[in-house]
Subunit: 216 residues, 4 copies
């Protein structure tokens, strides 16, 4: 049976009319990447509901690989997240008005989960393809990290038989127009980046040892 | 006789293999924008030689409008420059090893020249088209400002019968790959921006009053 | 007769309760720097009124040297301004609600005036003293640049027999508390910087040739 | 017996002549804060040796509270770290030439440890005192995070009977002089911040619920 990749994108939030993650994900739906079928889903920027909707999508699609995509702020590159942490500390309200402070996502879960994507290789192949990319060591403490932690917790409970992780992408140029000085990335570049990264994640059985750390 | 626009782009410098300005300008050569013929020229990143080559191009092409394009550093938007100042203060060497400090470009010239482009309108129409753009109040003190001042000095001596100015553009994504964290802009977005800006400059006989200042 | 230095500081604006320039200037009032008497004045962040109040202070004090100090935004260093430009383009309203767009400060004045301070030497001596400092090539287009241009226009009309210029300083730490992520500088460091810079301006008859340019 | 606080500061690295953490820590040695005795130690910026030296200091001093302090890069505020992660991914070599990539600090340790300091309260009291401060969600992947993880692993094995964590501080102004554009903070402000934070950590038995998250 054909390999399936589930890619999710968040709906707009924080007063934005669009979310680059959703725009990118729409374009990828139905594509074949490295022989695998891509199925995509929009997700609400709402605590718990984002994880619930993701679980439903995983049940329906039964994917081999899951990549959640979100909008990054003041981000110049496609950022492959390394680690999800077990805390909700929302600087703004989510799309249903929730704003938890320092509450655990899973009270009995570990402090953090590593992405099970080959993050270093994914960054390396994007760069080789001329697409700005980097490893990120924090996915924040808002709904992006919330979903990322929920995903990795689920995959861990399942026995880690399928892999998953999270990617942040910059604003689209048409969004940055309304936020003077914000960096942006064109949708075509984002799409090439995501396709390259997904193909890498499908083929790489283990990650490479490329430097990708930060000093502090 | 058909209106002619001369657009120049600098060659690579500072160890870069490409210059986004040159790449953009190559693509625009021979296009018709708003009924005007676009003629482009590469320029050396060399003190005096840049101005000399620009003067030769102006003599050959006899353009109605001249727009010089250069690569900006740490720039997220297409920046239309407002003013050129009469000083060379090179933080790095130019492509022939010259590094003047606080030397005038034209010893008898004024301290500064305003761009004669409709800078505010150009920024406004690019933003309306979904392209990040802003007014810049300094073109630096390197070869970009050197050329910009030389251009405006020439146009002033001619009696300001033709208009001109300078635009800075961000790195291309494939350049930013080698400068982690640097913002970039795809070539297609840059090209749409430059075409929009040139069309605006051709049609607008005077500038609009849109806020575009900075606090400091 | 003793040499006199007039140092001005702006009042708070843009919703701030303090202005680091005013705090610094208050501390300097009455000091003797390099044998010269320091006299200071607060100035309103109001178009025209800032220049009028400065002229009155110059008439009263009859200083040999005039240094206007203002608050910089997102500034990490003490910035000695190189050039004032003949335009008011206020991104926000001044303290009396005025918000001109692209209006000249002096309709018959030149496009720009150079600072007549030894800007490069002032930056060099501050750095030697362990104080972060740099040359700035734009003082913006708000009341800071407005006052700076007004000052240099006045000194030019007088025959340039006394020197003057403008310095931007960072937020104070207690201000940055309310603007997360904003850089700041302690008042003691700012005061040492200003004293060092004033002493340099008093002693240096001409500027030094130190690299201080920007690429764009 | 008197409460004891162990505060450590790293030695200079990455070509720097000083480390603000070491300078601050030297000043705090022997002070009494909120009735507790402060004992300080310098630590080498060397993989494993930093942890070994910290363990020796803990054995000698038998402190009730341990706070490790390090230099942050491009940091404008005092940053109280929330979480340490179990990976060494050094972007540069440590002071003995080691540069591990994606190696665990403790092969059998958890992915991450939370700071056991009241991070939110510490940030709140520093801000109330006029000192720029924030919570940080990543301590990087260099020796700072290495030491922080090693500390929390040790405290966890001990049964979490004493608390500890990590604080990043900005460059000193005299360092920033050599890194144009880098933000900095005066030593007096850093010292006031650390004293305030230590007093808070000594008195607070649990953390407060203040928003301190980031979006991504």
């Amino acid at each position: 049976m054909k390999t399936r990749v589930l890619i999710t994108g968040f709906e707009p939030f924080d007063g934005e009319a669009v979310n680059p993650a959703l725009e990118a994900v729409k374009q990828l739906n139905g594509r074949i990447i490295a022989g695998a079928a891509v199925i995509t889903r929009p997700l609400p920027v709402v605590r718990w509901k984002a994880i619930t909707a993701l679980k439903e999508a995983i049940t329906q699609v039964n994917p081999d690989l899951i990549i959640a995509v979100g909008q990054g702020l003041s981000v110049t590159e496609i950022q492959v997240e390394r680690i999800a942490i077990n805390v909700d500390d929302f600087r703004i309200q989510d799309n249903e008005g929730r704003q938890p402070v320092d509450e655990p996502i899973e009270p009995d879960g570990p402090a953090a989960y590593w992405s099970t994507l080959p993050v270093k290789k994914m960054v390396a192949v994007m760069r080789e393809g001329g697409i700005p990319a980097s490893v990120s060591n924090t996915a924040g403490t808002f709904v992006c990290n919330h979903l990322f932690y929920g995903l990795m917790h689920l995959l861990s409970l399942e026995g880690s038989r399928r892999r998953g992780g999270f990617i942040h992408i910059p604003y689209l140029p048409e969004q940055a127009v309304h936020k003077p000085g914000q960096p942006s990335m064109g949708l075509d570049t984002v799409l090439r980046g995501l396709e390259t990264a997904v193909a890498c994640a499908l083929s790489a059985t283990e990650d490479g040892k490329f430097t990708g750390g930060t000093l502090c």
